[in-house]
Symmetry: C2
Subunit: 192 residues, 2 copies
Amino acid sequence: MNQQGLNNKELIVEAADQLFYQYGYSQTSFSDISDKAGIPRGNFYYYFKTKDDILTAVLTQRHQLIKQLLQDCENYSNDVKAQLIYLLEVLLRDEENIVKYGCPVGTISSELSKSSVNLQMQVTDIFETLRQWIEIKMLAAGLAERSKSLSMEMLARLQGVTVLANVYHDIDFLRQSIQQHKQWLTDLLNAN
Amino acid sequence: MNQQGLNNKELIVEAADQLFYQYGYSQTSFSDISDKAGIPRGNFYYYFKTKDDILTAVLTQRHQLIKQLLQDCENYSNDVKAQLIYLLEVLLRDEENIVKYGCPVGTISSELSKSSVNLQMQVTDIFETLRQWIEIKMLAAGLAERSKSLSMEMLARLQGVTVLANVYHDIDFLRQSIQQHKQWLTDLLNAN
DNA sequence: ACAAATATAAGACAGTCGTCTGACTAATGC
DNA sequence: GCATTAGTCAGACGACTGTCTTATATTTGT
């Protein structure tokens, strides 16, 4: 695969990533991606045999992004509490889009849970990457056997806030909830 | 409209309701609904001019159901705390389907937020019916000016738990979270 | 009993979907 | 320098989409 070819594949995945987020997977057509990426529709088959293959590539990219964000948190501070709070900020940084389209991982998960079982597992993996990192940080903070359920609780809180902010298109609620979540984390980690 | 006609319209809405929940709105075709309802596809146009009209009818039905559930809570007890806890149980009663397909209102909301703006407002109305009822109950419990934000927090918690239970297909997590939510409500209402 | 309105049924319609083929060009390996 | 592979492009394919028309049957009001 030459330079140009790699570039085209990346362009397709990048366009698909944005479109899947904004319009959903099933509502995005090859033509939509083609138009956005500026690459002829017929050419897609060379890179991806099926539409599901494109989604797989997009999900892999989103998974990579999450891993990168976690790494950023590691680099941000040596303090576990600061890392967790920073994760919160990083995940909800893109306020406008979250309010408009919801969580990029959560929304694709609920779409896929209604159709493609095997693809949904890939999304579960992304959640699991996040959850495990959070659990490890909580363990490090001395939360012991509560860490696992607390990591689930943290993810659930994040998803809930995201869904509600999206339902009401309320960016202020999103911001207030982030503050509230920070307080929850602070209390949790200080109590120990 | 005669008896038979009313019946057919209800059959269509009923079939569509289930299919929209299980497969999503855009992934459900007229043919799917036709097959499930046992009514010829061509006949649909007599009752609904567009697919959106069917969704409107389905959303109206779901809204009615929620209002009915709230009424059930009113009838269940005179105690505000008992009413709120009962609401929790009623909303998450259908555990298997929540784990498989998520929240019937939340998932359609996130699908619609990616396409149809006007239809999504109808879903926001459903949330608002729920939220206002919760707020009123909290006001009655003496939570005063905190009631509004607490009603949002309660909805967010419910949605978050639902999303996570769906992501992991974990019915035990759902049950534990309900218990946890009950405790949260109890603490909240007793503290006052 | 007859006219009008309501309801049911079947299928046509244009458009779009994801997929695939074949022809063409560019790059690579020997 | 030639054969082989990798990459690009346009367009065809059948299947399916939501919508709409037409024809027929049933019910209703008078």
